[in-house]
């Protein structure tokens, strides 16, 4: 009996130490336990497919589960550069980046700055209305614009006829107009969102700056240029970055439903290219190699913009 007690006493401290150790290990594990479901799912459906896309860009494959991908080196990338539409896609993507800015930066910023000057109630209603396109389904938006822009039945052409324009404009079938239409629809859809971001930033500017400036007799214009704009610069940079990176991605639904990249590749862009030239034609090589090229390109653009942005931003400390 004595021996038993002794033994158990001797064992006790080591048990305690083991308990402390496992508690420590457990504590180290706990965050991961909470992160696990999300991380596993993201790994399965985002990270791993991304890696696979990267590898597939060096293989030729018709996407049938019964066949095996064949290694082909850089062939896909060479083919990609020769694919009709690739240079058009790059050009249109660049045009969209710039074309979206009036809708994502210029107008929203002006609206946000001026919204502060009118009655709170009115500005609230206006902002809620401008935001409506943002929540509308992109396909429904495409449906309405297909009708409004129609050469015969469309409201726009009827209005133009009233104004004396004799020949109806085929907005979506004319290479001169089609890309502009895609930019307009995309910009129109996103404008409320950017107005919201700018408005929030405007309202966060400390009012004492304006009071001091008003005492010095500064006009509204001077206050805007000297106080508002510099303090809006972080938002300005952020919104510019968002719109440059995502403009073509936002336009995808409209391009797919209204022009299918045409006419004559006038509206094809990076995102539509990946889908149209690759996936739809069951060419895994073109899909994956274009995905690699565009993701890398956008990644580099993001890094450069981030770098420039940090230099340009002026923070109110």
């Amino acid at each position: 009996m004595d021996a038993k007690v002794l033994r158990s006493r001797a064992a006790a401290p080591s048990f305690a130490r083991a308990g402390a150790l496992s508690r420590k290990v457990r504590r180290g594990f706990t965050p991961w336990l909470f992160l696990l479901p999300a991380l596993v799912l993201l790994a399965i459906w985002v990270y791993w497919p991304l890696v696979r896309t990267f590898f597939l860009s060096f293989y030729s494959w018709n996407m049938l589960p019964t066949t095996d991908p064949q290694f082909c080196g850089l062939d896909n990338f060479v083919k990609l550069l020769k694919t009709p539409g690739f240079t058009d896609a790059v050009r249109n993507t660049l045009i969209m980046m710039v074309g979206i800015l009036p809708f994502s930066v210029v107008l929203p910023m002006a609206a946000a700055i001026l919204a502060k000057t009118i009655s709170k109630r009115a500005s609230g209603i206006f902002r809620a209305l401008i935001f409506v396109p943002m929540i509308m389904a992109p396909v429904a938006v495409a449906a309405v614009f297909r009708w409004i822009l129609h050469p015969v039945d469309g409201l726009l052409n009827q209005l133009l006829a009233h104004l004396g324009v004799e020949e109806s404009i085929h907005f979506l079938n004319d290479p001169k107009w089609a890309l502009g239409c895609m930019i307009f629809i995309t910009g129109w859809k996103m404008m409320g969102f950017f107005t919201l971001l700018f408005y929030n930033a405007v309202m966060n500017i400390d009012d004492s700056y304006y009071q001091a400036a008003a005492l010095d007799g500064a006009t509204f214009w001077q206050q805007t240029v000297r106080i508002t704009l510099p303090l809006l610069s972080p938002t300005l940079v952020f919104n510019t970055m968002l719109s440059i990176l995502f403009a073509s991605s936002w336009s995808f639904t409209y391009v797919d439903t209204l022009t299918q990249g045409g006419p004559l590749n006038a509206t094809i862009n990076a995102y539509y290219f990946m889908w149209d030239k690759g996936f739809r034609t069951s060419s895994s090589g073109l899909t994956s190699s274009s995905a690699v090229v565009f993701v890398l390109a956008f990644g580099i653009i993001a890094l450069v913009l981030n770098h420039i942005g940090q230099k340009l931003s002026y923070y109110d400390n």
Binding site: I135, L196, L245
Partner: protein
């Protein structure tokens, strides 16, 4: 920051004019769509503003041309499942990031930010092949599967959870509550608003989702409202009336949500960025 300044008349006039014009441009297509959805076919081409002989014929036609009823049900099922799954996976993940300063936390945060930047088109091919192999083409599960977790949802909740006072967490710990029960009993009840508004944004995004359902559904009976609507866009005949009616129907659930929760929706879109 309440503004106390009185602005000059021309400035205020400029404000009213610009915002009114932008509001009009923003709302007009929706209003125009809604009004014309109730007009008989020939009246749609006249451009009278209000319908003279309002009719529900376009809606009847839309329902007979495509299986709108079952599409709406599918859209609802898919959007609800995705939202629920994304919330369930985002809450604990955001909590872990906000609560513990563990090794690898920065790495995880970086990975989440990167995956927010990865375009869907870059992962579609392997995902598509995998789902087809699993036999999930033309199913709601096929639409939902790749979107059960959302990096964007985690990042957004992380911001809200981060503002939760640490002292309360520590008090709960001293009271002997484990991390899970702290989350369920202390954090979540106080964060109901943040979680709910994230849910609304996720639901809207899933409801409006176009690209992935387009890939994964082959038959019209098995697709969502957005894909059904596409049928009217790709057909050569100009079925304006039924098209507008179907488009209106596809927007109604979201517009109703917006009418009721307008402020919360705008607020959470603002916090969240897009996507």
């Amino acid at each position: 920051m309440e503004s106390t300044q009185i602005y000059s008349r021309p400035v205020r006039m400029g404000g009213y004019v610009l915002l009114a014009v932008l509001s009009l441009v923003s709302i007009f297509p929706l209003v125009w769509m809604a009004l014309n959805a109730f007009k008989p076919g020939d009246e749609i081409l006249y451009f009278s503003f209000l319908p003279e002989h309002a009719t529900l014929q376009n809606f009847k036609d839309a329902f007979s041309m495509i299986p709108l009823g079952s599409m709406i049900l599918r859209s609802f099922a898919a959007a609800f499942l995705q939202m629920a799954a994304q919330i369930i996976t985002s809450v604990p993940a955001a909590y872990a990031l906000a609560r513990w300063n563990f090794k690898g936390r920065k790495l995880i945060y970086g990975l989440l930010t990167i995956s927010w930047l990865i375009p869907f088109q870059a992962t579609m091919l392997p995902n598509y092949v995998r789902l087809v192999q699993m036999g999930l083409r033309d199913t709601v599960m096929g639409i939902v599967m790749p979107n059960l977790a959302s990096a964007f949802g985690i990042l957004m909740l992380y911001q809200s959870f981060n503002s939760f006072p640490r002292t309360i967490l520590e008090a709960a710990q001293i009271d002997g509550a484990g991390p899970f029960s702290t989350l369920m009993r202390v954090v979540l009840p106080n964060m109901r608003g943040a979680v709910a508004s994230l849910g609304v944004v996720l639901f809207i995004n899933c409801w409006n989702e176009y690209f992935w359902p387009l890939l994964i559904t082959r038959t019209i009976e098995k697709s969502t409202v957005q894909i059904g609507l596409r049928m009217f866009l790709s057909s050569d005949g100009n079925l304006w009336g039924p098209m507008l009616a179907a488009a209106l129907i596809s927007c109604v659930p979201i517009l109703l949500l917006y009418l009721v929760l307008q402020r919360q929706i705008m607020d959470s879109f603002m916090k969240s960025g897009i996507k």
